[in-house]
């Protein structure tokens, strides 16, 4: 990791000022909403809803294939 030169350091300080200024939301809200979002999608997730995995494109449909 190289040390920054002067112009890079100035840019880094500007960037940090910008990053400090963003608005942050309380994790009690954001994490709760994230958990809710994921839970809401689980029924559409083929790995977690076996019904959806029935149409499995990588499994042979019949036992034998007539060539």
């Amino acid at each position: 990791m190289e040390d920054l030169d002067l112009p890079q350091m100035k840019r880094e300080v500007e960037s940090l000022q910008y990053q400090l200024a963003i608005s942050r939301e309380k994790s009690s809200i954001t994490v709760t909403e994230l958990v809710k979002w994921i839970e809401g999608c689980v029924c559409d997730d083929p790995f977690l809803n076996p019904e959806l995995m029935r149409a499995n494109p990588w499994v042979e449909k019949g036992k034998c294939v007539i060539l």
Binding site: Y18, I22, R24, S28, T32, L34, F47, N56
Partner: protein
């Protein structure tokens, strides 16, 4: 010397303020919020297909948006485009440089990109009469570690020169350069709305960027080694990182901080690759120890393992329809599981 010291002090001061601002909004834990959620079931997947054809280590794979085709890159000097349903190779693209480190396919399926130690990103039109090189994007000063198309006319690249770049494929020129990392950029992931992307680097940080103005919006710290893999949650509000420090972390973009960590005292292998199931509930992570572990993203518990490769799992991907997962390995095989 004086000005440099002043700036360094200012930078350190700002970082401290950022940490304080993060602490101020950190009024709960994922463990607390997820305590009421039922544990994910044990996930036991079968290896449905093994794609054989590469003759050396596989370094990258990327699913097509059609959920059926896939491109893979190997240091045997080839990109292979597969029809994963039949296991057939549809196209083989010979590479000028065999030291490839990544590959990607455009959402349209018309173009593939690859690059590595040649410092270039080569764009090939695979729908032409025979695969034809469209562009050689040649401005990075270090290796190309990762790339992702936004469309047939724009691509994002991550490089060992510590920058990421947005390229215009019509002119072959750089449109935006993303400079802030102080270590090699190893990976990138695009947000679902394509307005931002996240990069992971050898400086142990992940950075969120505005695609259009090149500004670094947020920096996520906490890892203690190179971040090799990164993925957006389908909601676009969180990201998962995988690192040489053997852990994965979930960063919440809205609260601007780490909200969950995935590690195991017994696990002594770096994370090489990461992908999420369509809901984001399952995290698939490839490790140096030849396995892929499956984690419950909410409870931070291991719920499954994919073992079958004889060497490092270097890349991993779930297609958009979420019906399976593909692992690519240094053992030269790709395996599809569900």
């Amino acid at each position: 010397m004086g000005e440099m010291d002043t700036l360094k002090k200012e930078a350190d001061g700002l970082k401290t303020q950022i940490e304080a601002a993060r602490k101020a909004v950190n009024d709960t834990t994922m463990a607390a919020v997820a305590s009421g959620v039922a544990a994910a079931p044990r996930v036991q997947l079968k290896n449905r297909k093994t794609l054989k054809g590469h003759l050396a280590k596989i370094y990258g794979l990327h699913w097509s948006a059609d959920n059926r085709h896939m491109v893979s890159a190997s240091q045997d000097g080839k990109l292979l485009i597969w029809d994963t349903y039949t296991g057939n190779k549809v196209y083989a693209v010979p590479l000028k440089s065999s030291w490839v480190m990544s590959c990607s396919m455009a959402p349209s399926g018309n173009l593939v990109a690859s690059g590595g130690l040649d410092n270039m990103c080569t764009i090939v039109n695979i729908k032409a009469a025979s695969p034809k090189t469209l562009r050689e994007l040649d401005a990075h000063e270090g290796y190309l570690s990762h790339s992702r198309f936004l469309s047939d006319t724009e691509i994002l690249t991550a490089s060992g020169d510590t920058t990421c770049c947005l390229w215009d494929l019509e002119t072959g020129k750089q449109k935006v350069i993303y400079k802030s990392h102080v270590g090699d950029c190893m990976c990138l992931a695009v947000s679902p709305d394509q307005n931002s992307f996240i990069s992971g680097a050898c400086d142990s940080s992940a950075k969120l960027w505005d695609v259009r103005d090149g500004g670094c919006k947020q920096t996520f710290i906490g890892h203690t080694s190179d971040i090799n893999a990164i993925a957006f949650f389908p909601s676009g509000t969180a990201v998962i990182t995988g690192s040489d420090d053997c852990t994965l972390k979930m960063y919440d973009l809205r609260a601007d901080q780490e909200v969950n960590g995935y590690q195991d005292a017994a696990l002594n292998a770096g994370v090489t690759s990461v992908s999420l199931s369509s809901s984001g509930r399952l995290i698939f992570a490839g490790y140096d120890n030849f396995n892929c572990n499956i984690w419950d993203s909410l409870k931070a518990e291991k719920v499954g393992v994919l073992s079958g490769h004889d060497n490092r799992v270097s890349c991993i991907g779930v297609p958009d329809d979420g019906l399976g997962i593909c692992t690519g390995s240094w053992d030269s095989f790709l395996k599809i599981w569900n």
